[in-house]
Symmetry: C2
Subunit: 220 residues, 2 copies
DNA sequence: CCTACCGATCGGTAGG
DNA sequence: CCTACCGATCGGTAGG
């Protein structure tokens, strides 16, 4: 553009060097996703404060300053990881609950447990663990946003557990039962290693046996 | 000492300024303890990586470089916090178990739960939460040391839970039951706030009701 | 235990 | 999205 006619002749074609990676205009969302996935994995394993934006850039094959083209700040990246994790979890939960809509609370609870283990320990599940263990790294405003999503997620649990408490199947107070139950499951992030003979189905069986000993054989 | 006789006359006495704080020689251990307590509190609330050695120094009323007179490095401080926390917890546990030595496993378990809540949520209880939530900040060598203390601590739990599994009072696998049980308790760090009507005794009642619904009324 | 300081690293930005 | 860079901060140290 506006190049003088006396410009030096250019090499014209240069097939060496890296090929122009996927020339689609919609790749921007793709790069953003790569940053989120890398950030989730790094935040989970090293923690938010110990992860540098350079680590995250490198995980997505970028230079050190480039993440800031996609995200305002490191804090915004953390929030985006948690928000995306919670939205995906809510979607999983809603889908699973549709299949168990009018079923007894035992079946409802089992569905929730199985879905929760998926979100927590399944493939590509770094987002929710980050949310569980980096809460303190959020600003108060960010916390409010995530807390609102968490309330939605826990509403289904409260319903199932309330029913079981009322029916006398659970002895403790409903709120404490929910907190301890979810705590028991969430803690699995610390010790669960996928291996033959320890599938998420079997883990679900164990959790149900522990909390509802009488009639927890698979009901579906 | 070795002062020349022609030294300029000194102001001799100067009652202003801070008084010479406790001139005992054994204060060194005291200062070290102050650093540990401050570090535990800061590590717990801000995380290890987000806590600066300057924060810790300030919490103990020292200058920025002074913690390194007492500890080799920031990492050594973290390890010392966890180690001291675990040794205190083991001592508490052993003492509580003496009073429940030949009792049935339900009583044993209740004793362990109550002691655990004390260590986890009682006054001055920042050390164990740091251990629970900063595991990844340890070096592999440090981890081995803490893991050994944890094995000792969990041995008593394994004994009580094995007995309850054998007796059919707990349905799940003994190992998974232990992990989920401790997870449910450990998670309380995230939500428990001391307030009237939510004492650690009552929390213990709730935990026993949830996991051993039949006969969990206080037995002692 | 303080003073003064160092080298390294970090989140973020300007300009293209 | 890269290049080049900045100011601030951090863990740690020398010397007293």
């Amino acid at each position: 553009m506006a190049q003088g006619s006396t410009a030096v002749p250019e090499p014209a074609r240069r097939p060496r060097g890296r090929p122009p990676k996927a020339p689609h205009a919609l790749d921007e969302g793709n790069r953003r996703q790569e940053l989120l996935r890398g950030a989730a994995r790094l935040f989970r394993h090293k923690g938010f404060a110990a992860t540098t934006t350079r680590d995250i850039a490198a995980a997505a094959g970028m230079q050190s300053g480039s993440p800031f083209y996609h995200f305002e700040s490191k804090a915004a990246l953390l929030f985006a990881v948690m928000e995306q994790g919670m939205r995906a979890a809510l979607q999983n939960q809603a889908q699973a609950l549709q299949a168990a809509l009018a079923k007894p609370p035992e079946v409802l609870l089992r569905t929730l447990v199985r879905t929760h283990f998926d979100v927590l320990l399944g493939p590509g599940s770094d987002f929710i663990p980050v949310m569980l263990y980096e809460w303190r790294s959020l600003t108060p405003a960010q916390r409010a946003g995530i807390a609102s999503l968490q309330r939605d997620y826990e509403a289904a649990w409260a319903a199932a557990l309330d029913a079981l408490c009322t029916a006398g199947r659970i002895g403790a107070d409903a709120r404490v039962a929910r907190l301890m139950f979810l705590g028991a499951l969430n803690w699995s992030v610390q010790w669960y290693k996928p291996r033959p003979g320890a599938s998420l189905d079997e883990l679900t069986d164990q959790a149900m046996l522990l909390f509802l000993p009488d009639n927890s054989r698979r009901t579906a």
